[in-house]
Subunit: 352 residues, 2 copies
């Protein structure tokens, strides 16, 4: 336990992931808890008196890493995600983009626990475009993914000016980073509520009524059922690039139901088709926005759940956006990089 | 009571409207019940034994118009809407379009009650396009609206070849009718799940969390609050025709939240903005599809809830689709027209 260098928390709306990190950013231990900021532990009157208004956060914090801290004090602590939102433990206001990523770690907010520990909180980013855009947590994943990519490039000795990073999920983000002979700078990002819209449509509209919510298809398996579901997903992916797709999401989603009514899709097929259809609409917009760029990204990185990234990879292939790779463990690496920027851990303890 | 000519039912998923109709299609009495096909009355074992599998439908039917029928037998009975779906009382399969509207009344299905009454059920319509499309209930409203429009034109003595009929609602439909020196023919229709998506986004996604679900704005009132809400709605309407709008619904809806985070919209403003944004995306697609037509509609008719039609009228104005008028009482008129086509009521008892 004595080699702990950093306690890093990825603290979102519905979950909290804790990492115990050692020299050179190596993750020694990690935990996943369900105590996201909307699901904090119950606060008793006694807790409230002892810990004050923010008792729920402190209780969750102790559950997540109290033993680690007790075994190896004093250890710096860093946290990213919705914990820094207005509804979080301590608000870390959004920083405007464009922003060089090495500036983010220099603006961490701090909150002190009742026993004097200092938690450093990563700010989110805001894009003041016509329709403003925000991220919170993804900036950390972007920083981590860029560090991992730079290391891998180091081995192959080629440079990359423009990177596109996709973070599929409840709210998908697509982030453009420019790093031509400068510190990497986040230039632009877009948000698509694809995952959350999919969940709401399945659970709370007529489209879900004829769906079967059994196991999703598996890219590997080749049973008849699996193949049919995979085909339904691919069929959905294509819609946005057909003439019929011009009618837009509000219209095309209804075909989930009508393809069921006409026996073209069964219950699980409808579910996979809708998944493909929404992702396809997202990727069609992404392609159109890339076509308008002067400088195309030389590298495309996907970050997120492996199965979901595989779905997005298929979508990118169909829309002829080539060469995306999937990066894992970007959050913990990003938190480590930010802690270095902030001087919380030794700068010469570089990741290998 | 002795002048009852027709009992007409508009029997949907969540509600049942019953009309007692006299000579020349005049509505003598009407009722709204909550016994849509998904909310039928509770069936006791005794009912079940007496009335069989479909007892729920028969109980709802008796509640809706049993007294009318008892007072004036024998009266023909007609019903449209989801009552004719696979989950309804008796399936009336979809008829393919294009179809002349005078053909629809000739294909009614019938179901008999336990005491020998015959209920005539209107079929829905299907469009076998790449993404199939269906309607059930709206065909009756379209027929009614065309009859009302023809009467009104009769007074002004001009003819109209192409009509576009909009039916905003849970699932908005836009129906194109061609009637150049022929019986009016339904040529094409589109569906947008705008109303249902709006409800699901407000109730079941992060967008609803910061919304205030107080009274919707009123087109007439001029309080400060009302004006702000009306402006928020208009702001939403515009989005789809801006550069930012090209990102599509999955992306633009996120601005409902970010405009709240940046204090540009309050809780009720966010709700109105999202309503405008979704309707705007629908109307932007409609405009694009109209631009591709060789023959532009010479008449645009909106059917539906008055407040919702006013919202759509505003949207059409902003998207420069001119001259839409709103028609009321289309369903009851359509049921009367269909009963005439079917020979259930005397053809010379024409509406005036």
């Amino acid at each position: 336990m004595n080699q702990t260098q950093l306690i890093a928390l990825d603290w979102g709306t519905s979950s909290l992931r804790a990492y115990r990190i050692g020299h050179q950013g190596v993750v020694l231990e990690q935990r996943a808890l369900s105590t996201g900021i909307m699901h904090l532990p119950t606060v008793t009157t006694e807790n409230q008196q002892a810990l004050g208004d923010k008792a729920g956060f402190e209780l969750a914090f102790r559950q997540a890493c109290g033993d680690w801290l007790a075994a190896a004090p004093p250890t710096p602590i860093i946290a990213c995600g919705m914990i820094g939102s207005m509804q979080g433990w301590c608000e870390a206001p959004y920083l405007p983009i464009p922003i060089a990523i090495n500036q983010i770690g220099k603006t961490l907010k701090t909150v002190q626990t009742s026993d004097g520990l200092v938690v450093h909180i990563v700010p989110g980013l805001i894009q003041h475009s016509t329709l403003p855009n925000v991220m919170r947590g993804e900036e950390t994943q972007v920083i981590g993914a860029l560090a991992i990519a730079a290391e891998q490039r180091g081995k192959h000795q080629h440079s990359v000016d423009d990177v596109l990073i996709g973070l599929p999920g409840t709210h998908s983000k697509w982030v453009r980073v420019h790093q031509h002979s400068t510190e990497p700078t986040i230039q632009h990002f877009d948000t698509f509520m694809t995952g959350e819209v999919y969940a709401a449509l399945c659970a709370h509209t007529i489209l879900g009524r004829t769906m079967q919510m059994d196991a999703a298809f598996d890219f590997g398996a080749d049973t008849e059922k699996n193949t049919a579901n995979h085909l339904a997903f691919s069929r959905g992916l294509e819609v946005a690039q057909t003439v019929a797709g011009r009618a837009g999401v509000l219209s095309t989603i209804f075909s989930t139901r009508t393809l069921g009514l006409t026996d073209a899709l069964d219950g699980s097929g409808q579910r996979e088709y809708l998944s493909g259809l929404l992702i396809g609409h997202e990727i069609a917009v992404l392609r159109a926005s890339l076509e308008e760029l002067v400088h195309q990204p030389q590298q495309i990185i996907l970050i997120g759940d492996a199965t979901l990234c595989a779905r997005y990879k298929t979508a990118l292939d169909i829309y002829e956006i080539k060469g995306a790779t999937v990066t894992a463990k970007a959050t913990e690496r990003g938190l480590w990089m930010l802690a270095k920027q902030a001087g919380l851990v030794s700068a010469n303890a570089v990741p290998v």
